[in-house]
Amino acid sequence: MIPEAGHFALTLALLVALVQASVPMIGAHRGNAAWMELARPAALAQFLLIAFAFACLTYAFVTSDFSLLAVVRYSHSAKPLLYKISGVWGNHEGSMLLWVLILSLYGAAVAVFGRNLPPGLRARSLAIQALIAVGFIMFILFTSNPFERMLPPPENGQGLNPLLQDPGLAFHPPFLYLGYVGFSMAFSFAVAALIEGRVDAAWARWVRPWTLAAWIFLTTGIALGSWWAYYELGWGGWWFWDPVENASFMPWLAGTALLHSAVVLEKRDTLKGWTIFLAIVTFALSLLGTFLVRSGVLTSVHAFATDPARGAFILVLLLVVIGGSLALFAWRGPSLASTGVFQPISREGSLLLNNLLLTTAAAAVLLGTLYPLFLDAVGGGKVSVGPPFFNAVFLPLMAPMVASMAVGPLLTWKRGELGPALTRLWVAFAALAAAAVLAWAVVADGPLFALVGMGLAAWLLVGTVVGFAERVRLFRVPFPETLRRIGRVPRAAWGMTLAHGGLAIAIAGMIGAGAWKVESIQVMKPGDTQTMAGFTFTFEGARQVQGPNYSATRGTFTVTRDGRPVVTLHPEKRDYPVERMPTTEAAIHPTFFGDLYVVIGDAQGSEGAFVTRLYFNPLLGWIWGGIVVMVAGGMVSLSDRRHRVGAPKTSRAAAGAGAGAPARA
């Protein structure tokens, strides 16, 4: 009964979305206020209906209702509650329902918080948002119904992949989707603006908070996924350039570019067409990420062959959403005249450079991810594009970007001067040299790019601090004056400083863990020792332990350094009997300078010997630390009152009042 109610609510949501997609759009065209106003209650109703449907599905998973096909396939009564709930979105059908739930959540948020938006823009963007919802709800109802019954119901479920039974992964998809779908808001605003034929600074100010929120979620989602891969897969790596990861990374790159070009549009009324284009592309890549990975097109083409209806539907949906918006862009885009002009050496110029590098990087990742599929399509045989391709393309693009990131904030708008900016960055130059020399002193035999990378990370970190110091006139004015200025720094500027600094820390971690990783694989008997990176690992033996729904081999390693104990580690190799699947639980001891990472493998012979993998990942924790700082920066920036959806008017009034001081952000 409850599943049917959920199914019915979803069908109703489709009807509401149809109304929301058409009536306000026509109303905006004719200037009928009542018709436009309908968008808001409709968006709320749509959200409530989908939330109800989602609650029904969650109830079925929590109560292990095995008359539902999805519950049978992806759940099991012996599973802990958390994973029963995460099982709701741990499968194709449920994840699609989560997708539309988040889509309608954003729509409802605009309906509630977007009171100050111009009625025409609000009505049109909510209509576009509803149009996307129509496509997705139809996709769910016709090809991927999570409420499908299975009669007679079996005794128990088929469980959930034990690799996915992990808190990191339980929360990874919702965050990723909050990010992906969040970019739908920028997309809807962009399409609405194209229909209206008007893009201005106010538009950019309304789009930025939504893009920023999506960026925060997507960054968190990607980091959670990467963190999970790091501690769960047991290979000591945290990024594999795997299609699944690339699919989430592409919208991140494009979305980051969008965030920055929207700043230029807001401040300088230029890069209009480009910003609209980025908004469309970012959401297009998000759709690609959702579909191509979930449906398995990239990893195995079989998934599609078995369900041609689903494949055809996805293709049509992509064609309509992406093709339609790009056609609109081709038609209306040229009429968006930019008024601001600027010199190449200027704040705008540096932001444009960052945009070009980020989008080129996104295009390169797209090419590398899709190339095998393309070649297949034209009968060119199979090729694989592995990490060497991505590293070879990606690093040369990122190096100039990081180099320019420290300079950009020191340039003035419109026309800047490189000389004075570089002069102010002398401390950063010194930091660059010091970091490279220090890296060389510590790891003399490492690769050259690591020295350059460490130097650039230091350059960016110190350069960012210099940029902030310049803003508050540190050492140039009396200290109390500097303090007063610090108090007046807008939160958006704090956010930028944090985000750029966080990236510098994360880059140092990525370079360190990537270039200087030490690993050692061997068979160890109880009592054997192995020395690596200055640490001595003693294998004390392994024993069997019993978990709630698995049994495990648990090894004990004591680690010492110069004879002093450091830590005792317990890696596990788990076996889940229901799914008949083993998983690796690496034991990790994070330290400031790097992670000790120990994995226990298969038993060898009868004397209690095991294969063991030991890793030392230098600076790896800095990656997570840096990302946390970046996300914090995003949140601080989001809390800036100028970004608050309700605030634009008052903020503009305030800016007008303080016209004597140049606006800086």
Binding site: V297, V301, H302, L315, L326, A377, G386, R580, G601
Partner: protein
Amino acid sequence: MNRRFLYVLPLVVFAVIAAYFAVGLTKDPSAIPSVLIDTPVPEFALAPIKGRDRGLSREDLKGEVSLVNIFGSWCFACRVEHPLLMQLKKENAVPIHGIDWRETDRDAGPKWLAKFGDPYTLIGDDPESRAVIAFGVTGAPETFVVDKNGVIRYKQVGPITGRIWEETLRPLIEELRRQ
């Protein structure tokens, strides 16, 4: 005119991508090899490569779950997965047999293995793509999971990554061993 072209360009690029998708999705390019899944390994017997005395034949693949890995010294992506194969060898995770494909020089394969390490239990030399065609291989590297009875149970196209090994191959091998 020029300006307008810039705005149309994204649509054109997307049209090309979409056309590829449409072809890629309907064609199901992996249809040919999938025929071999769950069928016995085709009849084949390959000579050893230089420096080894045993080659590889269908009979060698019976009795134990094993991997058959198609590689060649000319294949760049093979170098990508090579360290992982070496790790698997060190761990005794599963016997890995190799088919050294399309070498024009009889020294190239052995030299390559001498340089990067040799993870293979048995290796067959296949310069004329005899066994490789019988297996339905479309490119290198490609890896087949063969069960105890010499039946092909899975085909991995492209390099094995740590993730593919942990998520797909290792669980499958454990399951096949229990059968």
